[in-house]
């Protein structure tokens, strides 16, 4: 694999819940180190697409490839479970509602998966927890339980937890949507820092300013299709499609 190869490739992604088609023939490629933002109103399918990448919401049609390996390949149940667990170890995911494990401290949240899946020693795990929590500015809360942390702090620990598996790709599903406005910035800072380190990221967000400042490319989704995509300066300033203009107009009004 060279640096130029498509790193994440989604081909003809299709997803239906019963008769409701939420993703209609979506194609998307992301290169190594690229940061792609996905915007759109709720119900547009953007979260579903993101969750399909690590098979939380399996597609009903189409293919997803990560670094040359098909994520959603057809395998018998047992083999598929093994395969998908291995794939997921390479993809970090950050959720809107953090989903930290409430019965574990920040340290345990970060070290649980690496200790269980990579069989690292307690000392290594400890060093890993310190390293990752330091990176998100949470080292001084290493032995706190999630209930003792603010929303922004929880989300930073959740990012550290995902990073501790040394993922090749990070997925952010509205990571700041559940936060009080004054806590958004601390999480955005961490994401920006990851961007500077050239982490490949796909970010579903409602924050246009943030998307504009970190993303290499932004997709606007509506009713299960990608309406328009392009560099943020083009998509935000000079969108080609009427639907995009309408969404942005409404969104900016809403933000006021």
């Amino acid at each position: 694999m060279t640096e130029q190869t498509d790193f994440v490739e989604i081909r003809h992604a299709q997803k239906s819940f019963g008769t409701l088609e939420v993703l209609k023939d979506i194609n998307l490629t992301v290169r190594r180190g690229q940061i792609v933002g996905i915007i759109g109103s709720s119900g547009s399918g953007k979260s579903t697409l993101l969750r399909a990448i690590n098979d939380l919401d399996p597609l009903t049609g189409g293919e997803i490839w990560l670094d040359g390996v098909q994520v959603n390949k057809k395998l018998p149940h047992r083999q598929y479970e093994k395969h998908i667990n291995a794939m997921r170890q390479q993809v970090g995911m950050v959720f809107q509602h953090f989903n930290l494990f409430p019965h574990m401290t920040a340290r345990e949240n970060v070290t649980m998966a690496p200790m269980l899946l990579k069989k690292i020693s307690r000392e290594e795990a400890d060093a890993l927890a310190r390293e990752q929590l330091d990176k998100v500015g949470m080292l001084n809360r290493i032995d706190y339980y999630p209930s003792q942390l603010s929303g922004g702090q929880k989300q930073r620990v959740a990012i550290a937890r995902a990073l501790a598996m040394k993922p090749k790709l990070m997925l952010f599903d509205e990571a700041t949507s559940a936060l009080d406005p004054e806590l958004v910035e601390e999480v955005n800072m961490v994401m920006k820092q990851l961007a500077e380190e050239h982490m490949t990221m796909i970010i579903v967000t409602h924050e246009m300013d943030f998307a504009a400042s970190v993303c290499d490319r932004v997709l606007f989704m509506d009713k299960g299709v990608v309406v328009e995509e392009g560099p943020p300066e083009v998509l935000f300033r000079n969108p080609a499609k009427e639907r995009t203009r309408e969404f942005l107009r409404k969104h900016l009004e809403g933000a006021k």
Binding site: N54, L56, E81, N85, A86, R88, Q89, V91, G92, M93, F95, H97, N99, L100, F101, P102, H103, M112, A113, L116, L117, Y145, S147, Q148, A158, R161, A162, M165
Partner: protein, 215 residues
């Protein structure tokens, strides 16, 4: 009220209370085993197991425990099941309690936010690893109080085995009524001892519940 008589027979009741306690402990253990298996079946990804789990719950919660005991103890020998009264009591009540505990355990597990499992799975944990590292430790904390309610009910249900002549508290009370003709005193004494057992158990459950809560 004949207090003198109550004091005189009290040691025999105390002995019988130990039988009730032993019966309760064994029933609770068997109930927990059945309840765990039942909940696992009800939450299985295999439809056959889900059906069996649901059938177990509706059969044993849908019929009187007394009938279940009678079928096992009196009807058992007819189909080749030979149990003494104590064994039949423990097995009958245990399976019955297991049906209630199935629902308690299942309820606690499904009460855990689905985001917890998702977060565990996205890290690469298998279904089972996510269950025992993330779901069960949280569900276990939620289970303590409702299982305490099951335990309370189960202790009181041990009185039923008097009907198949296990010499526990209720049976002992009945026996002493036969010789003293003092049902008020005898049942009062038995009731008092049940209350003490249940009070102590209840405090134990409350203590455990406080202990396992996350800070």
């Amino acid at each position: 009220m004949d207090l003198e008589l109550m004091l005189k027979v009290y040691p025999f009741f105390l002995q019988a209370a130990w039988v009730t306690i032993l019966l309760s402990v064994l029933t609770a253990l068997l109930g927990l085993i059945c309840g765990t298996l039942g909940a696992a079946a009800r939450l299985s990804r295999f439809a056959v197991l889900r059906f069996l789990g649901a059938a177990y719950v509706s059969v044993f919660r849908g019929t009187p425990a007394l009938i279940q005991l009678f079928i096992l103890y009196f009807g058992g020998p007819q189909v080749g099941i030979q149990l003494d009264a104590f064994q039949a009591g423990v097995i009958g009540l245990g399976i019955n309690a297991g049906a209630y505990m199935t629902e308690t355990i299942r309820g606690a597990i499904i009460a855990i936010d689905k985001g917890q499992r998702e977060a565990a799975r996205t890290l690469g944990l298998s279904r089972w690893q996510a269950t025992y590292k993330v779901i069960l430790p949280q569900a276990a904390r939620l289970m303590v109080r409702p299982l305490g309610v099951n335990l309370n009910m189960l202790i009181k249900a041990t009185a039923l085995v008097a009907a198949i002549s296990v010499v526990e508290l209720t049976y002992t009370a009945q026996r002493y009524i036969g010789s003293t003709y003092k049902p008020f005193e005898m049942f009062l004494l038995a009731g008092l001892l049940y209350m003490i057992i249940i009070y102590v158990t209840g405090r134990g459950v409350a203590w455990l519940d406080r202990r396992v809560q996350i800070t």
